[in-house]
């Protein structure tokens, strides 16, 4: 009898870890201050800002290198990252990206927000959302490599350091999104 209870309570605790009550998100201005602090700390300590698309880019190069290494050695864009013996994952950019995933996961667990679900507008199906998320991902990352950075690397980090090019990228991102917002409205409203 005693063993049964303790066995039950172990399971109860682990299940509880992933079933914490869902908490509301933080106040946006507070979140912004915290994000600004992390951004500053990154520049202050390392001299580099934050970023995400470069980590994804290197991971994609890693996968391509596993599947077709000879092809990677012929694509100029990939050679710099994964050509020959280069390990595309051996880069601080990949490490930061890994940290982002871990940090997001931990926060999600603590605040009861880690769960399998699909967030979408009310008038489309899950499958539609998945399709457009996939297409959007292709489009966004293509644009991010062209612009040499995404909202984190260019808009957020470059914006804070007052890089002229980054502000141009920032306004272009918003411009592109606003321009298509009307056509994409069914996805979200």
């Amino acid at each position: 009898m005693a063993e049964n209870t303790s066995h039950k309570s172990d399971k109860f605790q682990i299940k509880n870890l992933f079933n914490r009550p869902t908490q509301p998100y933080a106040n946006p201005y507070l979140g912004g201050v915290l994000l600004g602090l992390v951004l500053f700390a990154s520049y202050f300590i390392t001299g580099n800002g934050l970023g995400a698309s470069a980590g994804m880019s290197r991971f994609a190069a890693f996968i391509e290198d596993l599947i077709a290494p000879e092809h990677v050695d012929q694509v100029p864009y990939l050679i710099k990252m994964a050509g020959g013996q280069l390990n595309p994952l051996d880069s601080w950019l990949v490490i930061v990206t890994g940290g982002v995933i871990i940090g997001g996961f931990v926060s999600g667990v603590i605040h009861g927000r880690t769960k399998f679900e699909t967030n979408k507008g009310p008038n489309i199906s899950n499958q539609t959302r998945w399709l457009f998320a996939f297409l959007g991902g292709i489009l966004f990352t293509y644009g991010a490599r062209l612009a040499r950075g995404c909202t984190s690397g260019q808009a957020l980090s470059g914006g804070a350091t007052l890089s002229a090019g980054s502000w141009v990228v920032m306004f272009s991102i918003f411009g592109g999104a606003y321009a298509l917002a009307y056509f994409a409205r069914r996805l979200w409203n």
């Binding site: 933080a26 300590i45 390392t46 890994g98 931990v106 293509y142 040499r148 272009s172 991102i173």
Partner: protein, 411 residues
């Protein structure tokens, strides 16, 4: 000496350095999650004005980050020259940005937020990330077709201060005010389109806004460090390099460096154009002291094995330029000992002497050799025959690799 940013790899070694980056990434992901950035409808809502929480987080972060950056730079704690400022590629940035905007409104994420969504098991996030990997693959396959476009419209490290020709402090104030105006406008839009009553938001945000503006004004008043300020901070450490002649290299050492392929040698001849045209070393660039500040960024961006040698007729002007470069955080700068006059004393052959007769006594920083024709570098002394000379000297050049990573950013 300006203490930050640090050169982590030489301070901590690679594994610990990676640990620092992991921690930074962790905090980044954590803050993104608590701010609700894993929720795609919230991200997309910005573009329908119903909820502008994402913009509020985003621009607050930019302003806070900016203020902290420039405040610490103003007080000499952080070296703005050594932090990564994204270089400007104008048209790839515009076109790439527009494409990203399309991807954003269709996909509901950007790479950073999609990773946080994936980390919290949002299936739409997972699909976005998968699409992202395909996007990188497609880019690699197609970029060669427009490689001139991709590498074109490059302007280097350009800041808003450069574009608008305004001091840093003014730009900081303007950006802060712009963001605050956007927050006010945003809250009105949320009220109209989203039915949110701004009066319900905590009053603390007004105090916060005042603090931000005050900090911006203080930054503008203190101002960013000038070259003289920087030298004043650096002098205790580096003045001895000058008095002990640690950074003056012998002509013999410079000649040997011509042939050292491990080093990227850049020679800066800071004399006026007339003297430069009379005689200069082969491959030495003519750059006037007043043009040095505009080239600092370019010099810092040179590869890590770059050695700069500054030269003038004697040493006075070269030393002034050495101070400028060194205080602006350009590494591995040396001065040609005795300048061009000493070089010619060492290496002038009958060819050169045919053009100038006897060496004349001269004022400081005047060329001793009165050439009656402009030889430029078309003479033996401009590139002395290495085999003919076996000079002894005290070796001074030593590569200093301790400086913050300047290559990088999300590119």
């Amino acid at each position: 000496m300006i203490p930050f940013p640090l050169h982590l790899e030489s301070l901590l070694g690679k594994p610990l350095m990676y640990l620092v980056f992991l921690l930074i990434g962790f905090l980044f992901g954590y803050v993104l999650e608590i701010s609700g950035f894993n929720h795609s409808p919230s991200l997309a809502a910005q573009f329908y004005f119903k909820s502008l929480r994402v913009f509020k987080v985003f621009f607050t972060a930019i302003v806070v980050g900016m203020l902290l950056l420039f405040a610490s730079s103003a007080i000499g704690l952080l070296d703005y020259n050594l932090i990564w400022v994204n270089p400007t590629y104008l048209w790839p940035g515009i076109v790439g940005g527009l494409i990203m905007g399309a991807g954003f409104i269709i996909g509901g994420f950007c790479p950073g937020t999609s990773l946080v969504a994936l980390a919290t098991l949002k299936i739409d996030g997972i699909f976005f990330v998968l699409g992202g990997l395909v996007g990188v693959f497609l880019f690699g396959e197609t970029v060669d077709f427009f490689k001139y476009f991709f590498n074109g419209s490059y302007f280097g490290r350009v800041t808003l201060m450069d574009v608008f020709n305004l001091p840093t402090g003014i730009i900081v104030i303007l950006v802060t005010l712009m963001a605050l105006l956007m927050f006010v406008g945003g809250e009105q839009l949320e009220k109209i389109y989203g039915g949110k009553d701004p009066k319900k938001a905590p009053k603390a945000r007004y105090y916060g806004a005042v603090v931000l503006v005050l900090v911006a004004v203080v930054i503008a008043i203190i101002g960013q460090p000038t070259t003289d300020d920087r030298w004043a901070r650096l002098a205790p450490l580096r003045e001895s390099d000058l008095t002990n002649r640690e950074v003056y290299i012998d002509p013999g050492e410079l000649l040997d460096t011509f042939h050292d392929h491990k080093l990227n040698l850049i020679m800066l001849d800071v004399r006026n154009e007339a003297d430069y045209n009379l005689f200069h070393l082969l491959d030495a660039e003519n750059i006037l002291p007043l043009d040095i500040p505009g080239s600092i960024d370019e010099f810092i961006a040179q590869p890590a094995n770059t050695v700069f040698v500054v030269m003038s007729n004697d040493e006075k002007h070269a030393t002034e330029v050495w101070k400028m470069l060194t205080s602006q955080a350009v590494p591995n700068v040396y001065i040609l000992s005795g300048g061009i006059n000493n070089w010619l004393d060492t290496f002038a052959t009958p060819y050169e002497q045919g053009f100038c007769g006897d060496v004349k006594p001269a004022e400081e920083e005047e060329l001793h050799y009165e050439f009656d024709a402009a030889l430029g570098s078309n003479c033996p002394a401009a590139y002395p025959d290495h085999d003919k000379y076996d000079l002894e000297y005290e070796k001074k050049i030593e590569l200093d690799l301790k400086r913050a990573p300047v290559g990088g950013g999300c590119g």
